[in-house]
Amino acid sequence: MSTVLKLSNVEVDFEINGVVVNSPLRGINLEIKAGKTLGIVGETGCGKTLTATAIMGLLPSSAVQRGVVEFGNHGAVSSGDMAAIRGSEITMIFQNPAAAFNPIFTIEAQLRMVAQRRNIAKDEIDSTLIHRLESVGLKDSQRVLASYPHQLSGGMLQRCMIAMALISTPMLLIADEPTTALDATIGAQVLALISSLQKREGFAMLFISHDVSAVAKVSDDIAVVYAGRIVETGPTREVMNSPQHPYTRGLLGAIPSAQKARGTLVAIAGNVPSVLTSVVGCAFAERCPLRIESCSQEPPIVQINNQSVSCWRAGQ
């Protein structure tokens, strides 16, 4: 199976008001195969969206990006090269669909703009738009096209955004928290829609969310991110069933449910560190119940079955 996206040692630094912030994103290695989904899961500020922004070549000018991003047949691409790929071969959907659409244009005008930019023949645009809306389960395509964003519900708008992202039949779809702003039942429908569209159309997907269960539901592989580092990655089922990194274990143990006795959730002490604090060694060490002396040094990447774990104590 061919690789669609490969990141090797991608790092990002920022310079804010003359102060250099070292590596809010550090040593990111990941790979997505054709038609497969990689899920990135992590808490606020761990660098999930920053990773997507770096892939898209959309970092602000204050950022310095290192490492290699390879995409499809293009090989290594710079953020400048990305301009031609972005929006056609790689497209993106976001958390807040209401903010992603321009409130003063109809859905039709906005989808049409995308179709025109993608060089779809004039006489095929109408049928493409209708087909796209229907493929995302919007039955009443004429009404949806004529609507302004505020006239549609959040779930419908999110479907429109998915339709828009698929107009150019991309190789890779980046979905950044696509269900976070939706009610749970609507979010579940959107997840099911994304899964079946992927099966039908074969695009690869980078799915980003803080919601472990949403990520697990759509991803073939999972990367758990903490403080700008991937701490554990592997096939979804294996990571969920036998998490190896103490942070992954803590995160899964923290999910409340009726089956867990009250007051006994795994509560990782402390807080997610701010991106502004520079960390030496393992970033999780400060909160880790298994901490040892060597944790003050950069942890090795340990392979356990199909999982890669960045931890001194992995496998012990």
Binding site: E134, S141, S257, A267, V272
Partner: protein, 645 residues
């Protein structure tokens, strides 16, 4: 059970609304008691009314009607001053911790505020604040901080400390962890449980997050559109949800396993109706075709069960071969069967990944539902079925439907140039499938149903000869939504599916213009289809209401007049049978009627034995007379097994 600390009786809250004179009812006559030391969790989606309910219960907003009693005292009609001491028994924790703390106040001041209002001395206050800080896990070094210097979790700890300052008995937790990261949420949930135990608190917890609610609560109330659709012990609600919305919510939250879209790798839009692809496709139409929802009832009928284990041993004889019921069910590729006797489930089996809540394509049984819908609307005078179809759809002038009447389309006596050959890719039936989106279409024509229907031509005099033609149903689905201005799926929902008490939303596939595929596009559960059969058996009545006119049901049972029963293929399958109002009527003495769809879909109604059978299959080929005979033999054997009772 322990003492009641809060009693909510018939509380309603109506907000004025621009759209309606009656206003918007956010909370609709809710009654519930809170017992000392319990956690009551209210779960619901945005706009369900849960926060409004809590605001009414805790005296923040006055309810429009109903009463709230706290520790035995009524809150209604009293001034703020009069209820001050009563309100000191209440504590509040809200979603946005930073927003609920005055940014100019220190942590010390924020926690002390309610104590100052209560008039305590500064010595007492300092002692109390230090005690609370310790209990919520904050260091005293943080007392001088302001909210922007704290993390979200720390802010929420301050908010909890403040809520507990006056030693309240009942604490409102309104989305207490919704803006926190998962690992911090776990800290706060553990803390809340610890405090509840130590201080004997009662919690009124509100959240959209079922995981949070079910983890922390003794009882769960599921709220939707201002009412509790389900209330019960947490374990009962989570493990045996009764209401469809609760089930949907649980599905949305369940599991950390990858959703497998189990679409077969060789799925093909031109072959999905045939076996073996239809074994998957008939249960998963919404995964490859656009569908609209046919909403079920908010108060679904719970079919009583009295399973008859002897049915498995009933012998069925078909063409010299004897089968047991399970053998025959397997032989005809059954996906589901539900048998009702006098309205109770006596037999129910599911195969091939089918469940009581999964939907299955009805194929042409959909037509029988349309027949009933027309009966209802014609009775009300919405349409006149003696009128030509083009009377209502002028764009069909010059097509076959210029002169053919609605009644003729309902009885399949339209003389139409149409081949109903399911296997010929050039037949009109195949063109209809392309127009409906049920086949791939590279012909450049028949892009949608309306355009296709305009092209159909007459080939004789209408009303004389029976001719089964699926397009006649699609034109009627189009007509009725045009006349009423209501989408077909919504008509089926409001006129039949809701009033009869369907438990699960059904669906109908849509063509590329969003028109419902009336001829065969409905998917429903087997139970709800059985419920529809029961409605017919009961003369059109359900839940004490006449839904379908009784005279229409009687006419349907009476069948078509004998002069239209021609010697076509119908007679080979159903000797002596006829077709009326989109139902088939057998010629046997027991006068069964049934709806049938290709590949083995049936609803069978037998007035003699008071039995209804809903059955789904995924047979490899669309129509076959041996299959039909097997079905009839099976149904009659099962029905007659019920005669003794």
């Amino acid at each position: 059970m322990s003492e009641i600390v809060m009693q909510i009786s018939n509380v309603s809250k109506v907000f004025p609304s621009r759209d309606s004179k009656k206003g918007f009812t956010a909370v609709d006559s809710i009654s519930i008691d809170l017992h000392k030391g319990e956690v009551l969790g209210v779960v619901g989606e945005s706009g369900s009314g849960k926060s409004t309910l809590a605001r009414c219960a805790f005296g923040i907003t006055a309810p429009t009607s109903g009463s709230v009693t706290i520790l035995g005292q009524d809150m209604a009609g009293k001034s703020r001053r009069a209820t001050r001491s009563l309100r000191s028994n209440l504590g509040f924790v809200f979603q946005d911790p930073a927003g609920s703390i005055n940014p100019r106040m220190s942590v010390q001041r924020a926690i002390a505020e309610p104590l100052l209002l209560a008039g305590q001395s500064s010595d007492e206050i300092d002692k109390r604040v230090n005690f609370l800080m310790d209990r919520v896990g904050l260091a005293s070094s943080q007392l001088s901080r302001k909210s922007h210097e704290l993390s979200g979790g720390q802010c929420q700890r301050v908010a909890i400390a403040r809520a507990l300052a006056t030693n309240p008995k009942i604490v409102l937790l309104d989305e207490p962890t919704s803006s926190l990261d998962l690992s911090v949420q776990a800290q706060i949930l553990n803390l809340l449980e610890e405090l509840r135990r130590d201080f004997d608190l009662t919690y009124f917890l509100i959240s959209h997050n079922l995981d949070v609610v079910s983890h922390l609560s003794d009882r769960v109330a599921v709220m939707r559109d201002g009412v509790f659709v389900e209330v019960g012990k947490t374990s009962d609600v989570v493990n045996a949800p009764a209401h469809p919305f609760t089930r949907e919510l649980i599905r949305a939250y369940s599991g950390v396993e990858k959703l497998e879209s189990d679409m077969p790798a060789d799925f093909d839009l031109d072959r999905w109706q045939d076996g073996p692809l239809n074994r998957w496709a008939f249960q998963n139409v919404s995964q490859f075709l656009p569908v609209a929802t046919i909403g079920g009832s908010k108060s679904p009928v719970n079919l009583p069960q009295s399973i008859d284990p002897t049915i498995d041993f009933v012998k069925v004889e078909v063409e010299g071969k004897t089968y047991s019921v399970p053998e025959l069910l397997e032989d005809i590729d059954t996906d589901a069967i539900v048998v009702l006797h006098k309205g109770s489930i006596v037999y129910e089996k599911y195969f091939n990944a089918m469940t009581p809540t999964s939907l299955h394509l009805l194929q042409s049984v959909s037509k029988s539902i349309l027949g009933a819908l027309y009966a209802i609307l014609a009775e009300r005078g919405v349409v006149d079925i003696s009128k030509p179809i083009a009377h209502y759809l002028p764009e069909l002038v010059s097509s076959v439907y210029e002169h053919a009447t609605i009644a003729q389309a309902l009885d399949m006596t339209v003389a139409i140039d149409f081949s109903e050959d399911y296997l010929d890719p050039n037949s009109e039936m195949a063109r209809l499938d392309r127009a409906a989106g049920w086949r791939s279409n590279s012909t450049g024509r028949d892009l949608a149903l309306r355009g296709f229907l305009k092209t159909l031509r007459a080939n004789g005099e209408h009303g004389k000869v029976y001719q089964y033609c699926s397009a006649n149903t699609d034109v009627l689905a189009w007509l009725i939504s045009e006349v009423t201005g209501i989408q077909y799926q919504d008509l089926v929902s409001q006129e039949i599916w809701q009033p009869m008490g369907a438990a699960i939303d059904a669906s109908v596939t849509l063509d590329s213009e969003g028109l419902s595929v009336g001829n065969g596009g409905i998917s429903s559960t087997a139970r709800d289809l059985a419920l529809f059969g029961q409605l017919i058996l009961d003369g059109g009545r359900a839940q004490g209401v006449q839904i379908i006119p009784q005279h229409w049901v009687d006419e349907t049972f009476a069948g078509a007049s004998t002069d239209v029963i021609s010697a076509d293929y119908l007679q080979a399958l159903h000797p002596g049978g006829s077709y009326k109002n989109k139902w088939w009527i057998t010629a046997s003495s027991s006068r069964e009627i049934f709806g049938v769809g290709i590949y083995g879909q049936y609803v069978w109604v037998d007035p003699t034995t008071q039995c209804v059978i809903a059955k789904f299959s995924s047979l490899p080929i669309p129509v076959d007379s041996l299959h039909s005979r097997k079905h009839m033999a099976l149904f009659r054997a099962i029905c007659s097994a019920n005669i003794p009772t």
